[in-house]
Amino acid sequence: MLLRHTTSEVKEREGLTINPAKTCQPIGAMYAALGIHGCLPHSHGSQGCCAYHRSTLTRHYKEPVMAATSSFTEGASVFGGQANLLAAIDTIFSVYDPDIIAVHSTCLSETIGDDLQQITRKALDDGKIPEGKYVIYASTPSFIGSHVTGYANMVAGMASQFAVSTGEKKDQVNLVAGWMEPSDMRELKRISKEMGAKIVLFPDTSDVLDAPQTGKHVFYPKGGVTVPELKSTGDSKFTLALGCISAEPAAIALDKKCSVPFETVDMPIGLSATDRFIMALSKAAGVKVPDSITAERGRLVDVMTDMEQYFHGKKVALFGDPDQLIPLTEFLLDLGMKPRHIVSGTPGGRFDKRMKEILERAPGANFKNGLNADMFLLHQWIKNEPVDLLIGNTYGKYIARDEDIPFVRFGFPILDRIGHSYFPSVGYSGGLRIVEKILGVLMDRQDMTANEEKFELVM
């Protein structure tokens, strides 16, 4: 047993987190910043943070992840990091020539009280920011929230620091992407185009974290939302935030700064959430849902009706990030499955509220988020009530192997497989992919464990 010390007896813990179902804010801020074209994320803290975040993102995407650090030493930690950040800005613009530096803080710089707004203002005043270049920032202390919070904060920072209201409304809708894959963002653009909806999607990591092999390293790949686009978000007629935790703060910021009205919908994962997204986008952009989208939907429903027997009643444990878990859990229910155990390390009452609503259809399901909602707890729950399927990031493989559970990788980080960054999970086509994956592992299990006389040709 790989996790031989995990026993079934669940005890309340107050101090110790074991096998977390989250990580810290800055990595989320770094990921979000990569979704701006020509942007270099900058970690204002000890250089270990930056190294860890770059490594994790690289392992997930198998792609270059460029980011700089303030390289704090003990001196900086005592006397404040302003000098480091100013020096960094200088060096970065000289050497890496980005259009934008997106600075996020760390537990270190937050603990010593560095004020990013003040320091970047000083950089501007000192002429360290070249004409036409930008330094934006987000406060992302690691001791609050999670990687998802950090993502949300940086995205909100993009909105509040770039958006300008010119007084002239534009016929476009802001789409705030919750934490999702480049493939998902690409798919959202495709769907919007198919619907004839003019959108500004931000952030947008497609063509950044799925860059082609060309024999050249393009430091700033062609993807990412551009500065003019970000500026224009203040003139958009509406904002659609995809995910109440990772996307809504940016929508609120836009509303506050530029009075752009907004609606928050779940990330469009699975049938029902995609339905709501399509309806909301249709309404916001004033476009009819074209038949081609209805047909995409119909293809997903087709598989759901035709394959219902294989999903029906299968018990599922899942863990990951709230904006993904919410619609995914709903999708599992739409498929006739039984979500039994759900944890997310990311705190927030919204998760609890939405999950309670959704899980009315699944009486007795365990779910918990925030402090001590970790994979150790999930594993203990599984030991008490075994499941037929586990869904989560790569760390789930240890539980899956110990408990011999079919496992579908979903979420962040996925370190041991490819595909997530190339094939979307959002939209109806993403739903098909999820269904294919789930069916695949369930049927593989059947093929593996069937007695010879029960080995099936057709399924």
Binding site: A51, T73, E74, T111, F143, H217
Partner: protein, 546 residues
């Protein structure tokens, strides 16, 4: 050794590498970019702060302490005291393999423990939560040891992890609890963390068990972390030779081994940078000499075995070692003979670690490949130039912040394993006891040595040298590969390995052969691009033909 290709003038290259930097940065970086001369060994600026804003390979003190040194020991509960990130990122990412003897043995390697500090803990202090966490860990797992690792905020808010550890150790009674002040901002790289880790392990673990275990030739293996199973291969070879491994620091190790390590008669050091402190301190306190060895490379492995035999001075051991080498080397040779025609004359760059950039040159040499440039992420001058420069190294502010233990001979346990005379005799025979001659003496003249290389510099070097392979870590991997050059990870081995000893050498040869000769690199250009000549294609064409 000289490269068998002609390269641009290294001085010109050095200038090109720094020309885009602001003046002050350029000046600083120039001191870390050295044109090698193995005879004179020029001074390398090393173990200094990275310039803020520079994209560096380096990590932090916590990574060196928890991630590197303490991580591989399977039966310690390692609690990271801090916000969740640090524990998360160091969770299973270093591939420290470990193999409990039975299914009942403790193994916490697959677990991640954290106090997950929240804002209130930052404001009001986190010691209380830490102590609760220790108690909970104890109640759940009853481990022999619990170690606490401090992350950045811990030191700043004044949490005294050592006091908390002492208190809990006393309270729990049968559990050794100790802490590390390895906050990420300490020092200039992982290196500080290694030092802190060594101090802690020496203080809190080594020496707790004076039992003398069986074995005639008893040694500790220091600075070998069993990535990809490296330690398993070395263990195999030791066993075959009749050498007893008392404790490994710390690949595939247990608390019990570490606590008993001072009963060995020799310390052999693999990764000089991460653990030479331990060798020094154990010599001082217990009288155990240390010796730099290297089990990366077949020839190096053979040499290391011979040195160990020479140290022990036992003819039986010497004969056994020769027998083992005679059995193992031909199998390696056969593979080399097959592969070398395909690798001969190719070039490599290594920018990684504290000793790996040195060790792996041996393997490339065995493949007939030339290392045209190399450097470390977090080494000190002695790792480049040899320990003889140690007295001349100035201790700067960043290093001063790392505790230097005052070690004295143990009144009861100090027992020189070799007399002064014996040691002198061995040295006279050419055995380098307590010494390390560094990387540069082994590298060819006019090769480039770059400390703490930046992303910018490495891209430039690749453009200029067009190496056949580049060795670094995960952060660099896909950047370099986007340039059409395969990158071999020498932290994780690209999830391959082991690469130590004889079987490991064969693994490495095969992997490098695969990488430098894989036709997949020829597929990069789309046919319409080549046809239309839309691209300058100079660099790419070179790769395509390589």
């Amino acid at each position: 050794m000289e490269a068998n290709k002609t390269y641009p003038d290294p001085s010109a290259i050095r200038e090109e590498l720094v020309q885009k930097y602001p003046a002050k940065v350029a000046k600083k970086r120039t001191k870390s970019i050295i044109i090698n001369d193995p005879e004179t060994v020029p001074e390398v600026q090393a173990n200094v702060r990275t310039v803020p804003g520079i994209i560096t390979q380096r990590g932090c003190s916590y990574a060196g302490c928890k991630g590197v040194v303490l991580g591989p020991t399977r039966d310690i509960v390692n609690i990271t005291h801090g916000p969740i990130g640090c524990s998360f990122y160091s969770w299973l990412t270093r591939r420290n393999q470990t193999k409990p003897e039975t299914d009942a043995d403790a193994n916490f390697i697959t677990y991640c423990f954290s106090t997950d500090m929240q804002e209130e803990n930052i404001v009001f202090g986190g010691e209380k939560k830490l102590k609760v966490a220790i108690q909970e860990a104890y109640d759940l797992f009853h481990p022999k040891s619990i170690a606490i690792f401090s992350t950045c905020p811990v030191g700043l808010i004044g949490d005294d992890v050592h006091a908390a550890a002492r208190e809990m150790k006393e309270k729990l009674g049968d559990c050794n609890v100790f802490g590390f002040s390895c906050e990420g901002y300490r020092g200039v790289s992982q290196s500080a963390g290694h030092h802190i880790a060594n101090n802690g392990v020496f203080k809190h673990m080594v020496g707790r068990n004076n039992e003398k275990k069986e074995g005639k030739f008893r040694l500790n293996l220091l600075g070998e972390y069993n990535i990809g199973g490296d330690a398993f291969e070395i263990e195999r070879i030791f066993k075959k030779c009749g050498i007893t491994l008392v404790s490994s620091f710390s690949g595939n190790s247990t608390v019990g081994q570490l606590e008993n390590a001072h009963m060995a008669d020799l310390n052999v050091i693999m990764c000089h940078r991460s653990i030479n402190y331990m060798g020094e301190m154990m010599e001082t306190k217990y009288g155990i000499p240390w010796m730099k060895i290297n089990f990366v490379g077949a020839e190096s492995s053979a040499k290391s075995l011979r040195r160990i035999a020479q140290y022990f001075g036992d003819e039986g051991l010497k004969a056994k070692v020769e027998e083992v080498i005679a059995e193992e080397l031909p199998k390696v040779k056969a593979v080399i003979d097959e592969i070398r025609p395909r690798t001969e004359g190719k070039t490599a760059m290594l920018f990684v670690g504290g000793s790996r950039a040195h060790h792996y040159q041996d393997l490339f040499t065995e493949l007939g490949m030339t290392t045209v440039a190399a450097g470390y992420e977090f080494a000190h001058r002695d790792d480049y130039e040899g320990r003889e420069v140690l007295p001349g190294i100035k201790i700067d502010a960043d290093s001063k912040n790392i505790e230097e233990l005052k070690v004295e001979a143990d009144p009861e346990l100090y027992k020189p394993r070799k007399s002064e005379a014996e040691l002198e005799a061995l040295k006279a025979e050419g055995l380098e006891i307590n010494g390390y001659e560094g990387m540069m003496k082994q590298m060819m003249k006019k090769s480039l040595v770059v400390d703490d290389i930046s992303h910018y510099e490495s891209e430039k070097l690749i453009e200029i040298y067009k190496p056949d392979i580049f060795c670094a870590g995960i952060k660099e991997k896909y950047v370099v590969q986007k340039m059409g050059v395969p990158l071999k990870q020498l932290h994780s081995y690209d999830y391959g390995g082991p690469y130590t000893g004889f079987e490991g050498a064969v693994n490495f040869y095969r992997d490098i052969d695969r990488m430098v000769n894989n036709p997949v690199w020829k597929l990069i250009k789309a046919p319409w691009e080549t046809a239309a000549g839309e691209n300058d294609g100079v660099l790419e064409a070179t790769y395509a033909e390589a």
